[in-house]
Symmetry: none
Subunit: 225 residues, 2 copies
DNA sequence: TGAAATCCTTAAATAAACCTTAAATGCCCG
DNA sequence: CGGGCATTTAAGGTTTATTTAAGGATTTCA
């Protein structure tokens, strides 16, 4: 899943790329209209974030040429101007969403998701903490280039810890959330899984470890910076 | 092309219906949440214009239930509130566009067009992954010069896997999408077909294999490289 | 300091999910 | 009707996840 950002303000472009990668997609940046169009024409992207005001060629023109070349990659347009005419022109020339600057990060994320979702593709949901990332859709735990697949219970448990990494989660909560309200799982079940998870964390060589707080619960901790 | 308007302010609903008909589409109106959901559930519409504040059931809830029932009709949400949290919630619960009242008619038209445009789009007839390609029209699976014909169920299943090559697809989803919502097909049916497909993949000598992720689902994987 | 409580780890046993194959059933078409 | 194909059902085998159990390590606190 790759997203192309065409935006000449480098700081904003970088921020957007970061957000995109955080969401679990790949990203590429072009800061110039002509180059942006070239890159977009490859058709290898799953979405394009496109600024209207650009050096070389403006966003509307890029969009028109793309659509004319039958490249149907979904496009999320950005603009500083909030004029009605702009919004209408953007949408009518083939954009999928129109977002006015300044916008908040969650809104950008939501729009991008909406635009990508229409492709029929499932959006991988990814949680991060320090050098670890967990993909909830396939239960894959990664650290740097290494990664491995968790069993379903392992995934359920560690995703509880990811939820609020600084706050310890009690065994009782883990049992009710993972095994269910009226299961007959005991504390030792949790302990066993925590042990499995710790083994996998060291296998990945991660900075993160699971620490126990007696009588309180477990939490994630990034070993001293 | 038929558009459903779910909006309790009758004057606005009427205006919207007029605009929609002017654009050359058919329209229907529901002014109540429950009835709106009922009507939307028929799945016969090509787009839905959905107000957030409704008697009976609010727009977010309607949207969630629709998506849960696998009704993928594009939805354009309307709201008087312009709160960020609302917009984000709307988009993340499956809306395709979010428009804040009051809006101008041309903008509404442009949004509706953008939302509908995707719908009529031709789904690519040929899907590819690594050295494999699948032709949906004749159900032919090819790898290099070799190729063979799949049965209709085999084709349905593998095309689901092609859609999201990186993400595992659960048996539950496979059953509802291939056998239908209320079929009595069981997990073993899926397993049997996966087995058939695997046999054909090795017959083709493909690089691609179908891997199972316990309790999660199946996905395509290009073996090494 | 020492006993109790809590936590950790590992191996083995059990249960669940998945795989494969063969045979049974249904369906279309000559 | 009967052959050929797609689909479903059934059964047993394989693999993997999960649970259980037992003993060791650590902390708490009297």
């Amino acid at each position: 899943m790759r997203v192309l950002v065409i935006e000449d303000e480098r700081r904003l472009a970088g921020t957007l790329a970061d957000i995109i990668e955080e969401m679990g997609y790949g990203s590429a940046i072009r800061t110039d209209g002509i180059q942006g169009l070239d890159e977009a024409m490859t058709g290898i992207y799953d979405a394009i974030v496109l600024d209207v005001m650009l050096p070389g060629m403006n966003g509307f023109e890029i969009l028109r040429q793309l659509r004319q070349a039958k490249i149907e990659t979904p496009v999320l347009m950005l603009t500083a101007r909030s004029e009605l005419a702009d919004r209408v022109e953007g949408l009518n020339s083939g954009a999928d969403y129109y977002l006015t600057k300044p916008f908040e990060i969650p809104e950008f994320q939501a729009c991008l998701r909406a635009v990508i979702r229409r492709q029929g593709q499932i959006i991988p949901e990814i949680k991060q903490f320090d050098d670890l990332s967990l993909s909830l859709t396939d239960g894959r735990l990664s650290c740097g280039s290494r990664s491995l697949v968790l069993s379903s219970k392992e995934k359920d448990i560690i995703s509880l810890l990811f939820l609020n990494p600084q706050v310890p989660v009690s065994k009782e909560i883990i049992i009710t959330k993972v095994w269910g309200f009226d299961s007959d799982a005991g504390d030792n079940n949790v302990e066993a899984y925590i042990s499995f998870l710790r083994k996998k964390l060291t296998l990945l060589g991660s900075n993160v470890q699971i620490t126990a707080q007696r009588r309180i619960g477990y939490r994630l901790e990034a070993s001293h910076s």
